[in-house]
Amino acid sequence: MTDPLAAPEPPDEGGAPRWVKVLGGIALLLVVLIVVVHLAGGGMGGHTP
């Protein structure tokens, strides 16, 4: 595994890298899918007091 003490990369300009945006988009899709599954299964009743 990379030695974290040798980690620092040169500062790069610009916003979040593309992989963060792609991962974020996939995460959003996953959340939507899970919400749909939960609602199809009868809502969030089992999760609440």
Partner: protein, 173 residues
């Protein structure tokens, strides 16, 4: 926070890797049990599956998830990686925190399912929504945990704005 000594760092890393990999393994087992409970036609197998899921979640998955989160925080704060300087660390933290929070929320339906099978084995189609949810959630959890592992190994580039400021401040003039 002062960077840890190499020995301390290795101990912390060992604890983090052990709890992370253990968490993934336990969730994989949980997923198998959830699918078994959902698909099996044998009432005793279904009952055993949901009782085992409750035990696995309560005694293995929750402790490992919390250990993974805590050791991950120690790892990041005790090394030059930091907690908010690099996107891969930040994303891992979000994954770990959200996964742990959702796990704790899901302990209720997991317990509900175990209580239901203690009373009587569910008939075909009974509680099918909840049973499907448990399997789907376990599958999603396994997926995101594998993403976290990949981030740990590949450490994709990308410093946050905070990280960039820190690096500029630390750069020799």
């Amino acid at each position: 926070m002062t960077p840890m000594t190499p020995r301390t760092r290795k101990i912390a890393l060992t604890a983090h890797v052990t709890s992370s990999v253990g968490w993934i393994g336990a969730v994989a087992v949980f997923l198998v049990l959830a699918v078994t409970g959902l698909t099996s036609q044998d009432p005793q197998t279904v009952r055993a599956a949901y009782l085992s899921m409750e035990l696995t979640a309560r005694l293995v998955i929750v402790p490992l998830a919390l250990a993974c989160l805590v050791t991950g925080l120690i790892q990041s704060l005790g090394t030059v990686w930091g907690l908010f300087r690099h996107y891969w660390v930040l994303v891992k933290l979000l994954i770990g925190a959200l996964a742990t929070a959702l796990l704790l929320v899901h302990m209720r339906p997991i317990g509900h399912m175990a209580d239901a099978v203690r009373q009587a084995t569910p008939a075909d189609g009974e509680l099918s929504g909840l049973r499907l949810q448990l399997a789907a959630d376990a599958g999603a959890a396994l997926l995101v945990l594998l993403v976290a592992v990949a981030l740990s190994v590949f450490k994709p580039r990308g410093a946050t704005r905070y990280g960039q400021r820190r690096m500029r401040a630390a750069a020799p003039r």
